[in-house]
Symmetry: C2
Subunit: 198 residues, 2 copies
């Protein structure tokens, strides 16, 4: 079992078959030590890729991203989430549907902070249906920049996000892959690959 899986087993709650609550270290309360290890692992996985920027989305993506950016020595940009945006020529925007909240949001990044030629590591706290991840990838490509890959803290492997990203040819590195939340218990998958262990 890797470090993050241990933390998830100890602290996470399977609220339903679909919902994993990890608000003690990631989504509301944040454990900076855990985030540092997560950031170091993302940096290790992408160190050779010539990353120039980390892109994430507010709010829970910020902590792991800042730790990864620190390790990689690159800036972090966080996309903002709004129900609807006033038109603004200075912004890159994408629509993101939230299955949890059953609403569509617009996410945006200033054109100043995401530019053609950049190699972007996209980091998020969760990968579920992949809507936020694809929206972030759209922002990168709208800027004329390149998605080097995704760094996901927790992947819900029983949902379709990973498949969607792989189908588009993206590299996906998830530090914990949750196979199931059935019957209140959390199980992981590795697909034969050891992502990391500490």
């Amino acid at each position: 079992m890797n470090f993050l899986e241990e933390v998830i087993l100890k602290e996470g709650q399977a609220l339903s078959d679909q919902v994993l609550k990890v608000d003690s270290f990631l989504n509301h309360q944040i454990d900076p030590q855990v985030m540092q290890k997560v950031g170091q692992e993302f940096a290790r996985l992408y160190r050779s890729e010539g990353i120039t920027k980390v892109l994430t989305i507010e709010s829970s993506g910020i902590a792991p991203s800042v730790m990864a950016g620190l390790e990689l020595g690159v800036p972090v940009v966080f996309a903002r989430k709004r129900k609807s945006l006033t038109q603004n020529g200075d912004l890159l925007t994408a629509k993101v549907y939230s299955f949890t909240k059953e609403e569509e949001n617009e996410i945006s990044v200033s054109k100043k902070w995401l530019k053609a030629g950049e190699k972007v590591l996209v980091i998020d706290d969760f990968l579920a249906h992949g809507e936020a991840a694809l929206g972030l990838a759209n922002l990168v490509e709208e800027a004329g920049a390149e998605v080097a890959g995704f760094g996901i803290v927790i992947e819900k492997s029983f949902q379709s996000g990973r498949e969607k990203l792989l189908k588009k040819g993206y590299r996906v590195e998830s530090l914990a892959r949750v196979a199931s939340l059935s019957n209140g218990s959390i199980t992981f998958t590795r697909n034969g690959q050891e992502a990391w262990s500490l």
Copy 2:
């Protein structure tokens, strides 16, 4: 001139007499190295206070808080901001008026992550009129916890926030204190005290 003042002079833009834009390293793009120094400085200032938790508010408060929490070895909790909240007995809530957006928001923290007896360092990116800071202090006191003090990245000293907090007896440590943004130029104040220099 301290490290942060140098970064602000180099990167900040006085958009008006009232508005300082620092979206290259704090509010939209984040410079993890700068945030690490900021976090280390907050930790140095409050190291002897027996801090058990850092409290901040999404989104721009998260990066400096996580770095401070890492240095202090304590968890961080970020309050969420909403236009209005559904009543929920598990939440501590406070109202915060935003002068910038001219609207009232509710901020909230789960009772699970802020408890009686804690000594809380409240960190935010900006101190202006003090509304967010006072709202965060209200959450701490509603929990029966104690505000050890405030750690502010950038204080707009020409607005009333600092005075309001001092009048309530709080300790306020601002790493950069902006005296004026008039005529598009940024000037700092120290009140005879060298807050830090790197």
